[in-house]
């Protein structure tokens, strides 16, 4: 996984200001100069009497990435990589109609040049040669794609036509680098020691702790005049463990910590405690009774509420466009559940939601989802998404969609068909009416009593981002496809408790949500408890499945606990494989 898009933490929110191709400390930046020089030449591309590009863009993620993992006191993997990942986009046609938003927009036609990795060093001749050949191929493909698209639209009746690309003011933002120093030996030692904590839990059948640290710069230049260079830093710690219940049900728990820089992650004692907690949770889950199907009120504690909103809103607040296709060729395309809902009520009227990537601090904590400029060079501003429960705005990129013709600077993930995908930065969920946690629990039990339910349900933690393995994820998706209900995979609860009228809590296992969609948000009846800021890495995959994509965006959701009047959960009937035939091997007393 190669994280990207980190915001320079300690610098005050930078304004776009003009700067030359020089670093703020006066040093020349050979990579930036080479990008600009080749960009100028790219304007002159022309095949025979066909059109020149009307837009060319070069982006480069220049980074160093460290990854290490350990299990039960043993180092499993450790590597450092230096990478430069280029991204070259060429548009032909015009802002109104170009080679994007078409089913074949991502295809490359023609034989590629034998290009290898982008040069890692500041060597103008080698860098420009790479760009020269790559741009040539992308331009020629763009021409073919545009010709094909033009032919396709002649045979289609199109609805209301939207431009293909929104104009945007070019921004110049050249910020100083902020490279993290790697300490591989020290980090490997920490991982060995932290992973050894799980040796005390014989219930755990597999486990791992890992660090992922990346540091570098993001470059973006385009023919409109944008010149961007911003630091990108992400530091991530994860512990994940698996266990098996007596009936063979696979169980999993995990904890993830994020910061922009390693030194801002929690210290070793707190990480150690998190590892132990995962062990404790699994121990409790192995002994926990199977849950029953449930239809009734559910209280999401603040962390789980934030996770739920991240999962539901994250994928639905950015709208994409169905690409133009050919007659008789369906395009696999998932619409947003909020499509067409601008101006309608999607939440109770006492809830507002604001996305503010320019905010840096909240309650003394550095916000993880802050960023100065998006992937398309657009500066984001504070955006009111929901006001008094009504959907006022959605996350926009430079791909015009119905209801959002201009970008509002939320292009944060690479998308398909020549467009980019939107993600929020810091999402603040604000409830005008707030109770305390105790009051919410009381309310939950009252609702249960009204419905003659013997117990209510409290969800403490969701599997979001999901740390399911590839095989587990496929099983989940297959189950959902068979079971009817919503076809979208929603994160399952990792920690869910029955709450009885006497206040007693009982952990249960095996629950999954059924039919939990954006529509369900209207069933929120109360909010309360101290809000938490939940940080995560969005990657565009269902349940933000970790490892599903190399490109990620840093996000944060600040939310209080939420009480839903009615949520449906089920414990699917499943045949689990028998427990391992041979008992687990012993662990030696000392490492």
């Amino acid at each position: 996984m190669i994280p990207r898009r980190a915001f320079l933490a300690a610098v005050a929110a930078p304004l776009a200001r003009p700067a030359g191709a020089f670093q703020s400390d006066g040093q020349r930046d050979a990579l930036l100069e080479s990008l600009l020089a080749e960009l100028e030449r790219a304007r002159e591309l022309r095949l025979e009497n066909l059109e020149r590009p009307y837009f060319v863009e070069y982006a480069v993620h220049d980074m160093e990435a460290f990854y290490a993992g350990a299990t039960l006191g043993a180092l499993a993997e450790s590597r450092i990589e230096r990478l430069r990942l280029p991204r070259i986009r060429v548009r032909v046609g015009s802002y109104d109609f170009d080679n994007t938003n078409y089913v074949f927009s991502d295809s490359m036609t023609g034989a590629p040049y034998a290009l290898s990795y982008f040069p890692l060093e500041d060597h103008p001749a080698a860098i420009r040669r790479h760009l020269w050949l790559a741009t040539d191929l992308v331009y020629r493909s763009a021409l073919q794609i545009l010709a094909r698209k033009r032919a396709a639209v002649r045979n289609l009746t199109l609805g209301e036509s939207l431009p293909d690309f929104a104009r945007a003011e070019p921004v110049r933002m050249i910020l100083a680098p902020r490279r993290q120093i790697f300490q591989p030996k020290e980090w490997e030692g920490m991982l060995r020691s932290l992973s050894a904590e799980l040796r005390a839990y014989p219930e755990v059948t597999a486990s791992g702790v890992e660090f992922q640290i990346s540091t570098g710069m993001f470059y973006l230049v385009n023919t409109e005049g944008a010149q961007i260079r911003i630091p990108e830093n992400v530091a991530r710690f994860q512990v994940r463990a698996n266990a098996l219940a007596e009936d063979g049900m696979p169980l999993r728990d995990s904890a993830i910590f994020l910061a922009h820089e390693f030194r801002d992650l929690p210290g070793e004692p707190e990480l150690r405690q998190a590892v132990r907690s995962v062990g404790e949770n699994l121990r409790a889950l192995v002994r926990a009774p199977l849950a029953d199907n449930y239809l009734g009120p559910v209280l999401f504690e603040p962390q789980a509420a934030a996770q739920l909103l991240a999962d539901l809103l994250g994928r639905n607040l950015g709208w994409r466009r169905r690409p133009i296709s050919e007659p008789g060729r369906p395009v696999p395309f998932a619409d947003s559940e909020l499509e067409g809902r601008l101006g309608t009520r999607i939440l109770p009227e006492w809830i507002d939601i604001v996305d503010d990537p320019t905010a840096e601090q909240w309650e003394g904590k550095r916000l993880f989802g802050s960023y100065p400029v998006d992937l398309e060079g657009v500066v984001p501003r504070r955006l009111v998404i929901v006001e008094k429960g009504i959907l006022k705005a959605m996350l926009g990129t430079r791909q015009p969609v119905k209801g959002q013709l201009e970008s509002n600077g939320r292009a944060r993930l690479y998308g398909s068909y020549g467009a980019n995908a939107a993600a929020f930065g810091n999402l603040f969920v604000q409830a005008a009416q707030r109770s305390s946690m105790e009051e919410l629990r009381k309310r939950l039990l009252e609702l249960c009593a009204q419905r003659n339910r013997p117990y209510g349900l409290v969800v403490r933690k969701l599997d979001f981002p999901s740390t399911a393995s590839g095989a587990e994820f496929q099983r989940m998706a297959a189950r959902l496809a068979q079971g009817g209900g919503s076809r979208r995979v929603v994160s399952a609860p990792l920690l869910a408790y029955r709450v009885y009228p006497d206040g007693r809590e009982e952990l249960v296992r095996g629950l999954q949500f059924r039919e939990l969609t954006v529509r369900s948000l209207r069933d929120i009846v109360a909010a309360g408890g101290d809000p938490v800021a939940f940080d995560y890495l969005e990657n565009g995959a269902p349940m933000a499945l970790t490892g599903a994509s190399a490109f990620v965006a840093e996000c944060s959701v600040v939310a209080p606990g939420l009480l839903f009047e009615e949520v449906q959960l089920e414990r699917p009937a499943e045949e689990f494989p028998r427990l391992p035939i041979v008992p687990r091997p012993p662990l030696e007393a000392n490492l």
Binding site: R41, L72, R79, P119, L120, A126, R584
Partner: protein, 508 residues
């Protein structure tokens, strides 16, 4: 049951025009679990038509030697593989009863004696900064060539250790070091033909790699040849005599002959089975012998890439004469027997994550009809005159192609020529041509070898097939073939880059 752990440590450094592109090192340990249930006659590995069962999944093991951590992963992986094996056996048993018995059935597994050996290869040593400086300097030597589009020089060094234990008592630790310098470049002619050249220099130990002088000379040769190719005339379709250089002949043998003597293909009805019924028969001219010898470490002054002490089933490597004086004697065998060849001969190989099948090792062509290279040339000229052809061909360099051995597909092979010359009978200098493709049917080509040179050359490479990538080599003298058929390579409709190249100095 068997556990094989492949432990790999390696670094790669690559540069273009003096700029680093890659510089990384990695280490990993991977476990392949084998569980066999049933009997030697019928076990869970029995193949059904169209099916190739895979049970192992290359599970990662910790790098640290912490027994508890390692055992936990081995435990779960074994459980998973066992279940998978048991399930398949049940399915096979019901299905084999239903299917009609084919020709005499071979068993699924052989009996072999266990092997015990412990000999780890030399420790890994790779001074990264030193290699970065060298590779950058070598790659910069391409800078003088204006006709080349892309170029690269890289070095890869690896140390591989294999651990193998099984329930028969085999206990093995063995492995090798391996390093390779690759020099490659590409360009595109004005009519849109992509041209690539690549040369590799191999050595077991990085200290055995050629000197600066040799590497730079190779860079210069690749650059010069590629620039000449770019403006060379396009080849015409041709049928006539040719010489294949030793290296080209090695590839030729590996592709059109070697794959067809792999044991597992003789058991598979969907394969062409060209030689299945040819044991004891003449399959090559009687002056040619073909030996597969993984115990041979060096030939013609070069370390061989297909060397090993034990195969991936723990069977000791040995010299296997597959063809003796033109007569087919045996096949390359893993522990999956044939009715005619009931034991392994140490050629059961695989890449981690795949199941073992019989694969090639060091293919060695021996000839009893050798002449000097200049005499071979003269023989070519005579043959050109005799056949009344305008010219003959000389294949100096080829790269491994693909072979179609399956029934239903064309029984054709395609070895990809890179550097080919027209040779004239009247003593005119050789003329470089581009866009040549060899075609032909395998059996027909063999009968047409007239003579060989007296100087073998080595082709080191990697072969990808059903059990993944394995390192191989081919050693062969140059061959004179009375008839080879070539066609013109399919040209693309592409063209060279639209803009001129950026300034060599990098400035605007």
């Amino acid at each position: 049951m068997a556990y094989e752990v492949t432990e790999e440590q390696g670094c790669t450094v690559a540069a273009t025009l003096g700029a680093l592109q890659v510089s990384r090192c990695q280490q990993n340990r991977v476990l392949d679990v084998t569980v066999r249930v049933g009997s030697l006659q019928l076990d869970n590995y029995h193949r059904m038509p169209g099916e190739r069962p895979v049970f192992t999944s290359a599970a990662r093991l910790p790098l640290d030697d912490v027994p508890g951590a390692i055992r936990q992963i081995v435990w779960l992986e074994t459980d998973r593989v066992y279940r998978s094996a048991a399930e398949r056996l049940i399915r096979l048993k019901t299905s084999t009863q239903v299917r009609a018995a084919g020709e005499e059935q071979a068993a699924d597994f052989t009996e072999e004696k266990p092997s015990v050996f412990a000999g780890a290869p030399k420790p890994f040593s790779f001074p990264k900064e030193l290699w970065e400086e060298r590779v950058k300097r070598w790659s910069a030597a391409f800078g003088a060539s204006s006709g080349i589009l892309t170029s690269q020089v890289s070095i890869g060094a690896r140390r591989e250790v294999k651990y193998l234990v099984n329930t028969e008592g085999t206990r093995l630790v063995h492995g090798r070091n391996y390093s390779r310098i690759v020099i490659s470049a590409s360009t595109r002619s004005s009519d849109g033909m992509d041209l690539n050249l690549s040369e590799n220099l191999d050595s077991e130990d990085a200290s055995g790699l050629p000197s600066d002088k040799v590497v730079l000379a190779t860079v210069e040769r690749v650059a010069r040849q590629l620039e000449a190719l770019r403006t060379a005339p396009v080849a015409e379709p041709f049928v006539g005599p040719a010489i294949l250089s030793g290296k080209a002949a090695g590839v030729f043998f590996h592709e059109i002959f070697g794959h067809r003597v792999e044991g597992h293909r003789q058991k598979d009805e969907s394969e062409g089975q060209t030689f299945t019924k040819s044991l004891g028969q003449q399959v090559l001219p009687s002056f040619l012998s073909v030996i597969f010898d993984p115990t041979r470490r060096r030939a013609a002054g070069v370390d061989l890439n297909g060397s090993y002490l034990y195969d991936d089933e723990g069977v000791a490597a040995r010299r296997v004469p597959v063809v003796e004086m033109g007569v087919l004697k045996t096949f390359l065998m893993s522990r999956s027997p044939l009715p005619q060849v009931p034991r392994s001969n140490g050629h059961g190989r695989r890449q981690s994550g795949y199941e073992v099948v019989s694969r090639q090792s060091n293919l060695i062509v021996e000839s009893s009809k050798t002449v000097s290279e200049s005499a071979l040339r003269e023989m070519l000229r005579q043959e050109i005159r005799r056949q009344k052809k305008p010219y003959g061909l000389y294949f100096e360099q080829v790269t491994g192609g693909f072979t179609q051995t399956r029934r239903g597909g064309l029984q054709a092979f395609a070895v990809i020529p890179l550097v080919v010359y027209r040779v004239y009978a009247d003593g005119r200098p050789d003329e470089l041509v581009r866009g040549v493709e060899i075609v032909g049917t395998p059996l027909a080509s063999f009968g047409k070898v007239l003579a060989t040179s007296d100087r073998p050359e080595v082709f080191n490479g990697f072969c990808g097939a059903e059990s993944g990538n394995v390192p191989v080599a081919a050693v062969s003298p140059a061959l004179l073939v009375s008839e080879i058929e070539t066609q013109r390579k399919e040209t693309s409709t592409d063209r060279p880059p639209l803009l001129p190249p950026p300034p060599a100095g990098g400035g605007s």
